[in-house]
């Protein structure tokens, strides 16, 4: 019963968590989530498996870099889907919202913003993005209003939305494909231009390391302030160490993906770099959409764990009636969750539109299913009340790894769908077993 912590009466002295020996003790002391560890394990199995099956083409800098870019769009939406599912709702319309906001952004950019602000204006990309985010916010907010205040089930409202916004995407440009005009906006999609290069990647990695170390110290100081039990120092070192190594390895991988010869030469010409002996070594570094994805993940984690809104989202998921009786405006929170989801769908739309350099009518088709699958594989309970942003981000990476791997193996699309569908069911089944054991 009182295994983990013990309060102390001596002010200023924080006891150390008594962890006991063995693997169980190790997990308890480091506070590593077993579910998260299981997911990372599954991911590694998938990666190594595909690497072997594909004859050594999966775990290459080039493939992993592409994987990171391909994960960004669905991953961004999965962070919002966590909050939607935690409140015992569902959003089936995110793929269509992605489609319509992508189309609106493309039309706004080519027909209004570029002529208005000028072809070379550095403001076009941000203006386009703001238009898209506002549209996503309004669309999501409208659906949230119908769900929260008019009492129509989320399943029905967003199923309607799935059709309505897909139709809307067609209607905005009469089904045409709209190519983007602004080169700055295209950077949001990645590619050789939309990557930050080796130097900036290392600078960001250094910042991330500082952030991780500082975060660990801040958490420790906070617990000492109230004389709560703290992790043993070695456990702190292990968790910080693993995170730091992960950051460094990831940075090394993206930096070892080099621009192919002709592209590198063009880049060198454009930037006035002399071509050295033995050819150019210009790294891609982190892609802009990946940084956007990570940024969204950090912001969403902050919202979920450190704000009142996030606390209410989880409380509503745990017991809606109790949340109501505690004086929480549950309807407003529900509306805000859907509005946020709509906005994240617009962020995903910006990424995928920029990546394709154009908006198409079918963009985002079936993304709602991949988004929901990512959240659920990432440990979000469809019963509500449980889920993490980081889990959903990993879930998105698992889904994308499966897909990319199967493409690499040259599997047919129908077979890919069969595998993805089966994996989703098996993952949720395993999760159900895990929860039953934990309860």
């Amino acid at each position: 019963m009182s295994e983990a912590t013990s309060n102390t009466s001596v002010p200023g002295a924080s006891p150390t968590i008594r962890s006991g020996g063995g693997l169980k003790g190790f997990m308890r002391a480091t506070e590593i989530d077993t579910r998260m560890l299981g997911m990372i394990g599954a991911l590694l199995v998938i990666w190594v498996g595909f690497h072997i099956l594909s004859g050594g083409t999966f775990l290459t800098p080039r493939n992993l870099w592409n994987l990171s870019v391909q994960t960004a769009s669905v991953g961004v939406m999965a962070t919002g889907m966590v909050l939607v599912i935690v409140t015992r709702n569902i959003d089936l319309s995110v793929g269509s919202i992605l489609g319509v906001t992508g189309m609106i952004m493309a039309v706004a950019q080519t027909q209004y913003l570029t002529p208005m602000l000028g072809y070379d204006s550095g403001l076009v990309w941000i203006a386009t993005l703001i238009v898209g985010l506002l549209c996503g916010l309004v669309i999501g907010g409208l659906q949230g209003f119908i769900i929260a205040y008019l009492g129509v089930p989320a399943f029905i409202v967003t199923l309607g939305g799935l059709l309505v916004w897909r139709g809307g995407a067609w209607w905005v440009a009469s089904g045409r494909t709209i190519p983007l005009t602004d080169d700055n906006f295209k950077l949001l999609g990645g590619g050789s231009d939309g990557s930050i290069g080796a130097t900036w990647s290392w600078i960001l990695a250094a910042l991330a390391v500082v952030f991780i170390v500082f975060g660990a110290f801040a958490a420790r100081r906070q617990r000492k302030r109230f004389a709560f039990a703290v992790k043993p120092m070695w456990a702190e070192a292990v968790t910080v160490g693993i995170s730091v190594i992960a950051v460094i390895v990831a940075t090394m991988i993206v930096n070892s993906y080099l621009l192919p010869g002709p592209l590198a030469r063009r880049y060198a010409d454009a930037n006035g770099i002399a071509v050295p002996e033995g050819g150019l070594q210009i790294s891609f570094g982190y892609a802009v959409p990946v940084l956007l994805f990570i940024g969204v993940g950090i912001v969403m984690t902050f919202i979920a764990r450190r704000t009142r809104f996030g606390r209410y989202v989880f409380a509503i998921g745990g017991n809606p009636e109790a949340a109501d009786l505690a004086g929480i405006n549950t309807k407003r929170v529900t509306l805000m969750v859907f509005a946020l989801m709509g906005m994240l769908a617009a962020v995903a739309a910006a990424i995928s539109t920029a990546r394709l350099s154009s908006a198409t009518n079918a963009q985002g088709t079936l993304d709602e299913l991949y988004t929901i699958a990512a959240a659920v594989i990432g440990g979000t309970s469809l019963a509500g009340g449980a889920g993490t942003i980081a889990g959903a981000m990993l879930g998105a990476l698992v889904m994308q790894s499966l897909q990319s791997g199967m493409v690499l193996l040259g599997m047919d699309t129908p077979l890919q769908n069969i595998v993805v569908g089966a994996v989703l069911v098996v993952a949720v089944w395993l999760d159900t077993i895990y929860r039953r054991r934990a309860a």
């Binding site: 912590t5 606390r311 949340a323 505690a326 004086g327």
Partner: protein, 279 residues
């Protein structure tokens, strides 16, 4: 009422002398309250009041309307008609937040806890302590939670676990702690001991006595007279949405109150209400 009868009852076992001062304005008075759900009069012109330091037991069968009446006071339901007065002044209570602003706190029969978050998050749900940057101050909330839980349930250690992992008694302590944490003036306890063992029931009884001393008024709602008879200063009985009658606990016996609950029959020591059986 004869003086001899009163004297006898004063010395009866388990009965204390009524020491509640009822001269001022009542702490809370609900007057002529009605609410209907789909044509069924769940509460039908019911009136009830409560004085500082008083424990009023609200009794009746399941479906008698007692929980519904009290949910109107706690802001969970909106009444169709009637008025609520707090310390003699008309109060407007339209939702749970309004009720809490008047110092009305409720411990629901279901406990109304968010099972997936920890004790501190439940204690401060809707009233979180924030840092200077507008973020949740979980450390400060946990520290406060440790203080109040230390008073109610000194053995409680499971501050990091979601409350669904706790035992029935521990969950009850969390619900009680939440109600008294914010200086409640009026406390509503719906079937407070129904799910508890004998030792925990005794703890709740001790707590009620302690809160009485702090001049907090308490409504105890129960369908079982034995749970609440010895704790209460006054009993009010409801049947079919109406008040059968009310009486000082010292003026009636358990059997008489049972007669009120089952038959709606008002004994001599009680003040009959609109729901009393007509002679």
């Amino acid at each position: 009422m004869s003086t001899t009868m009163e004297e006898i009852r004063d010395h009866g076992p388990g009965h204390h002398h009524d020491s509640v001062d009822r001269t001022g304005a009542p702490l809370v008075a609900m007057e002529d309250i009605s609410i209907a759900f789909g044509g069924i009069h769940a509460v039908d012109h019911a009136s009830i009041d409560l004085y500082p330091g008083e424990v009023v037991a609200l009794l009746g069968h399941n479906g008698a309307g007692k929980s519904t009446l009290i949910k109107i006071l706690s802001g969970a339901y909106k009444r169709d008609s009637g008025e609520i007065y707090v310390r003699g002044e008309k109060a407007s209570i339209g939702n749970p937040r309004d009720a809490k602003a008047y110092g009305i706190e409720t411990i629901y029969q279901t406990l109304a806890l968010a099972d997936n978050v920890d004790a501190a998050a439940n204690l401060f749900l809707g009233r979180e302590i924030m840092t200077a940057w507008g973020t949740l101050d979980d450390g400060a909330m946990e520290a406060e939670a440790r203080k109040v839980m230390g008073r109610l349930n000194p053995n409680f250690r499971r501050f990091k676990e979601p409350v669904k992992a706790l035992s029935g008694g521990q969950r009850q302590s969390v619900a009680i702690a939440r109600a008294i944490l914010f200086n409640a003036k009026i406390l509503i306890m719906d079937e407070p001991t129904a799910a508890l063992g004998p030792q925990e029931t005794a703890q709740v009884a001790d707590l009620i006595k302690e809160l009485k001393k702090e001049d907090i008024g308490i409504f105890l709602i129960s369908h079982d007279i034995h749970d609440v008879f010895d704790l209460s200063d006054r009993v009010v009985v409801m049947k079919n949405g109406q008040v059968v009658g009310s009486a000082k606990t010292e003026d009636v016996t358990k059997d008489e109150v049972l007669g009120m609950i089952i038959l709606g029959k008002c004994p001599a020591g009680a003040t009959p209400g609109p729901g009393a059986m007509k002679e």
